[in-house]
Amino acid sequence: MRDWLSDKRYLALLVLIALLILAVGNWLRPRQQVAEFAISEAERLRLQFLAQQRSLRDFTSYFERVAGSLGVHLVRLIEPNTSGLVWQGNRVLVPGLPRNHSSIFTLRSERFEQQASPSLVVPGLPISILESRSSQGFQAVRGDDTSALKPGAWVLLMTRQEDGSTGYSPGFFSSVSTATCGDNYVKEIATSLPLDASMLGGGLFDLEGHFLGMVLQCGPRLVAISVNSIYFWLQLASRSSERLLQDYGIRLLSLNARSSAHFQQTEGALISEVWKGSPAEMVGLVPGDIIISWDAVPVQKPDNVYTLQPKSPGEVLNIEIIRGQRVLKLTLEAISGGWWSRASSTAALGLQLELPEAGYLIESTEPGSPAQSVGLQAGDRVVMIDGRTVSRQQASLALNTAIIEEPIYVVVSRDEKTIGVLLP
């Protein structure tokens, strides 16, 4: 047998036959191996579902990893109940703080809890800054412009939950638009994520961990405000006019021709806005008062006040103002950080007094009317006209008969402040 096979010619023939069998057999093979490999539709769907479920799970664990690395930027403010973001060092960015609160706040993160005090609270600004006792365990966010972001890119909205755990929701970036928030125009980030109260103070991040924006309260709405707008606000808050607002609760205007004529005063700084509960209100300053001396420095215009070195907290200063025909001397105490709640509360008795709803309600302002052009709004309450409290009749008479040659100075109460305007 072996001899027969060892003949090279026979072997070559056999090899040829084998090759032929393989070639022909493979060619004849049922092409679609229906019977052999068919998978039922149900099985196919199940496999597909499993594959999708698997990749979704991969997705989720990817988000979890990103979210886990972003947790170091987030804190929870216990009272009021919001999230906050570590901004620089031991400074924490939080939504605009309420005033009926003691000046000690508690911050909570995954591992620790620590106390913080207000560092920057500008009346009317939707963000505030708290300063914690130490910066241990904090890591500041890295801000990034949204301009590089394409619509449809993944974003994560990160919050610190009440129990200290990190919360995140993934969504898509859609666009950046301009919106009004308080008195300013801001950049609003639109995403696929619905915002609710539990997300207030949360941060919006891209998947590389760049901080894009923060969820803040703008009037009745919750808005994701872009980092650029936050920078803008913080710059604004560091201006000297805003420092004056933070420390004393007043805004100043320089006297123009009309107001000079009306108040019969050519030099000084006109107080146009006084915040309720502020040191200025405590000593009785009202819109329409004209500052002529600030800490023994004569004042010709607001810049004279702005250029002075700000006082440290608790320091007092003497000012002179003109109200009507009289010159008044007052003593003002600076309270830094705009944190006036202790000053306004009658702390000794443990009471907090709410101001009565004084004045007459402006129900509407006609578009294009002088009232609207100077900034009066529906909802404002008329408190004083030309430095005097007035009856309803006097008020409507004065408002109806005011003419350009003989303007009246109207003080209205709006939300947390009183504002003075010259009408018409």
Binding site: M1, R2, L5, S6, L11, L14, V15, I17, A18, L19, I21, L22, G25, N26, L28, R29, P30, Q33, V34, A35, E36, F37, A38, I39, S40, E43
Partner: protein
């Protein structure tokens, strides 16, 4: 744990378990299988399902090598001497095992399709584990020759039987859009293709191996040639939908008939392949799902009993008819208990081809495989030692490393 450390763990654990079971006078491969069960997902989970599927390529190679060495028994002179008897015995024991299992299943109210599929699968005897036990016992004699012959043929018979049953099921489920001829072609052609094509492929690879082997002298080069050819054979067989089992055996058969160097090649193999075998059996053990034992149920018991008694009875009757000596008649059936490889492969085919019957068939077969993989090698070793064909292994003098 990654694949490499899994692999290392598998090898060391296998060696350790192999030493351990020798004290209990159990076959080494039982130790490997038990080691696999312990490190596998059923117990410790050091080797995960993902690891197993990555390592399955080693299993393919190992199975190829095992069947390659099994193929050496198909030497022409040997076939002329004992071929007829072995074929008759194989036919008898396969047929009786299939008959008993099918009958038992029908008696317990199973549909005829399930009963026939299980009957066809019951024919199979695991080539790998039985051959390894023979090798470990260094067995030589009439029983050993008969057993090696039977396990070679047995798998082919099982494949044929299974294909016929599958064709029958296809033919009875009449699809109005498909003609009778088409159905016949669809269901029987794969059988013909797997038999003829696999032999052709194995022959080609065998010729390549034999003609190249004359030019290779070093032992290391011989191993490279051998493993390269086996990988090629198994790979091409998978691509062409051929039977890796038959193709690998055909390589061995071709080689032993063509080459005068075949002895040298097979001995080179036996020095190269132990790590592959260890991996193969540990993976087989790790793949065993012990939880299935709980769900074996009445059908599983019927299957195990039917197949065992069928094998035993069939081997006895067949051996008597063939006029084999008393010792072979008594122990042949006991040596044929193992069941694994092809049976598992066939359940996978059933899963794809007859999903409506796969639930019952898979549960029974996979649970029975757990039983047979445990008792099969032990009973085979028992039969071989009792028959007196086991011989002490001549251990090669290991050179000291220090």
């Amino acid at each position: 744990m990654n694949e490499l450390s899994s692999l290392g763990l598998i090898l060391l654990f296998a060696l350790f378990a192999g030493h351990l079971v020798k004290f209990l006078r159990l076959p080494e491969i039982t130790g490997y299988i038990l080691a696999g069960v312990v490190v596998g997902p059923s117990f410790l989970g050091w080797v995960s399902h993902e690891n197993l599927s990555t390592l399955s390529v080693f299993s393919e190679v190992a199975l190829g090598l095992i069947l390659f060495s099994l193929g050496s028994i198909f030497e022409m002179d040997r076939i002329a001497a004992i071929g007829r008897g072995v074929a008759r015995i194989t036919l008898t024991e396969s047929a009786i095992a299939a008959f008993l299992v099918t009958g038992g299943m029908l008696a317990f109210g199973q549909p005829w399709q399930v009963s026939f599929l299980l009957g066809a699968i019951a024919m199979e005897t695991a080539a790998a584990s039985t051959l390894m036990v023979i090798r470990e016992c260094n067995a030589n004699g009439a029983l050993t020759d008969t057993v090696t012959g039977i396990i070679g043929l047995n798998n082919i018979f099982c494949l044929i039987g299974f294909s016929l049953v599958a064709a029958l099921i296809d033919l009875t489920t009449t699809d109005p859009n498909v003609t009778f001829i088409q159905t016949l072609y669809q269901s029987l052609y794969p059988l013909v293709w797997q038999l003829v094509g696999s032999v052709a492929l194995g022959f080609l690879v065998g010729v390549l191996l034999a003609s190249w082997a004359t030019r290779v002298i070093e032992h290391g080069e011989l191993s490279i040639l051998l493993i390269g050819c086996m990988l090629l054979c198994v790979g091409v067989a998978l691509v062409l939908d051929l039977s890796t089992l038959i193709a690998s055996m055909a390589v061995g058969a071709t080689l032993s008939n063509l080459s005068t160097h075949s002895k040298r090649l097979f001995s080179a193999l036996s020095r190269t392949d132990p790590p592959f075998y260890a991996i193969f059996f540990v993976i087989a053990g790790a793949d065993l799902n012990l939880e299935l034992l709980g769900s074996i149920g009445v059908l599983g018991v019927v299957y195990v009993l039917g197949r065992s008694s069928g094998k035993f009875l069939g081997a006895h009757i067949g051996a008597r008819k063939a006029g084999l000596p008393e010792v072979v008649r008594r122990w042949l059936g006991v040596a044929l208990m193992s069941q694994a490889g092809l049976a598992i492969g066939l359940t996978l085919i059933i899963n794809r081809r007859f999903p409506e019957y796969s639930g019952a068939v898979s549960t029974v077969v996979l649970a029975a495989v757990v039983v047979y993989e445990m008792i099969g090698p032990i009973s085979a070793r028992f039969a071989i030692t009792r028959s007196g064909e086991a011989q002490p292994r001549v251990s090669e003098p290991a050179e000291s490393l220090f």
